[in-house]
Homo-oligomer: 370 residues x 2
Amino acid sequence: MPTSSKSKKEAKRLAAERRAELLAQLKDLGDKAYTDLNAGQFPQFTFPSRSVSNIVYDSKLKQYILGKTNVKRSSGNIKHIRPFTQLLWLAFFADKLVHQGKTSTLRDVYYSSQAYNMEFVDQAESDEIITDLEAVLSRAREQLKIYPEERSAIFGDLTIEYTVPGYEGNRLNLSSHPDGYLIGPSLSTAEFVDTSAEMIIAVEKGGIFTRFVEEKVHKRYKAILIDTAGQPPRSTRYMLRRLNKELNLPVYIMSDGDVYGEHIAMVIISGSANAAHLRDLTVPTAKWVGVWASDVVRYKLPTDPMTEADIKRAQELKKDPRYTGGVWQRELDIFLKIKRKSELEAFSKYGLTFIVDNYLKEKMQEAKSL
Amino acid sequence: MPTSSKSKKEAKRLAAERRAELLAQLKDLGDKAYTDLNAGQFPQFTFPSRSVSNIVYDSKLKQYILGKTNVKRSSGNIKHIRPFTQLLWLAFFADKLVHQGKTSTLRDVYYSSQAYNMEFVDQAESDEIITDLEAVLSRAREQLKIYPEERSAIFGDLTIEYTVPGYEGNRLNLSSHPDGYLIGPSLSTAEFVDTSAEMIIAVEKGGIFTRFVEEKVHKRYKAILIDTAGQPPRSTRYMLRRLNKELNLPVYIMSDGDVYGEHIAMVIISGSANAAHLRDLTVPTAKWVGVWASDVVRYKLPTDPMTEADIKRAQELKKDPRYTGGVWQRELDIFLKIKRKSELEAFSKYGLTFIVDNYLKEKMQEAKSL
């Protein structure tokens, strides 16, 4: 169903609202330190522990979440002073980024700390503190303008309105450039204004994405196409969730016919254990439509043997609570039985357009009953 | 200097001309087989050998080229029948792709062969034959519509006109989407219509590309920005060459402060040994502006120690003919002396905008005398 078009004023209001909420949260964090000090107490932060023992699977939310154990970073504890200070500095730095409308990367944050004589032994340590701040705020680092290096892409009839400085209020329809538009900081923070699309189709590979554009999948299925470029970066998972929630569009995922492909779909749907402290990165209603192990058999696809590592991974996933029942267990079992794997490109055996004209068509038909 | 705008008619004519030349060349290849047969001879192909002993450095062209040794694939030689047939089939398949305006990937070609009962043991074998066909035609596989999986990106004031089916004649200015436009089959084959840009600046990383857009490098330097996403895929090197030649714009390259960064710049400028059979992938006049080993010292950048592998690589490159003299040898020597490496993000030590406001500015000044 097409959504109603969003007015420029409305788009601007929503973006401003989102920004104000975030800045208020950061300000509260700083205020709390002052309040503690004024009350003659050592400032401290309390937030959910991300230790393995506190990561539990929530079968209702269909994702990993953090349990009830909290950790404390107190400036009154000599062992805590370092991470406490780092966390406070990071909140200050994120506040700066948001105020200035500048983006950065995990790597940038590590080096930026040196401008403030803030010490991190290595990037692993600053990455850890960034995740702590995510847990404190319950917000993904992308909202704090800290982005990953990897970028995936999008194509289709979707009009967006930018909220980044220099482009605020500009609108763009994402169907003019058939090679695709990178999903970076500007797109992740844009408002969705208008679309005629009725679904999202995410594929794992750039080559297949291009094939889909060439074969007009976006028109034939009224779809917005996403190239996840392998395991999608978190900003792309966040984007998929927004497209799903805000535009009320179903999401279909097509990945390689191997356990890693199956897991790409799973992470889009149910998230990952190391993002258990976040809620904005899953698409619980998304559907994995292929390539299933059973498709590998059914379509007599060219295959390669599974390696020892592939088999081990499949056995691990079989015990993973996210993989309980349904298509997930069934397909893992078939992978372990046939011990073969395949790829999206393997359909080219039947001609370049078979994957769209036949496979996608049949799977989308099947998906209706999933 | 801004180029004069290209008319739609002119853009269309150029694209048609390019396509006709390619198709004529493929037709000649098939014709030759028939001519041989009619003359009672076994059809055969002759093309330059790509064996290591036939790869020589041309100091005038400043790139590796193939020497005078030729190889033959004759249908009259039982050992040659397999690669001869594979090559002929590939030419037929490429002709189909070009006629239908469809793109494919190396992986696709491997699987597509099975639709024709054409046997390749694995993708390595089909990749090899694709390179043979490149050598036969002296054309990069991208012209035959065979693309790599990796994609890099572009941003800036450049109006292009698409030549791919479904978008022919459509024009797009590449400055509306600040996250960047993927450089895929559509962009690689587009005509360049109009630009106000006076230079091209290529950077190695998506995060720095975004920083450059945010800090308006495209406006401050009247530049078209390219994110090479590491070692640029060949379609991006081809794109850089076209921007340089067709728009008469200088190309500047900024990569990480390590031997791999130096080599990224070198490959853009002088190409790689395994593309010695091609001439359309180098930008001999491009300039590597940083991050030099001497910059690592001069700017007191945060560094990591070079690994054994890094040191070995630097020693190898020192003997490489492309690295003779000038900045290339000097910087390798400094890397080997300091035994430290750095990254573009390391400038964040001095604040997020230092890399643009200071470093880029100083290096572009310096580049004038390079």
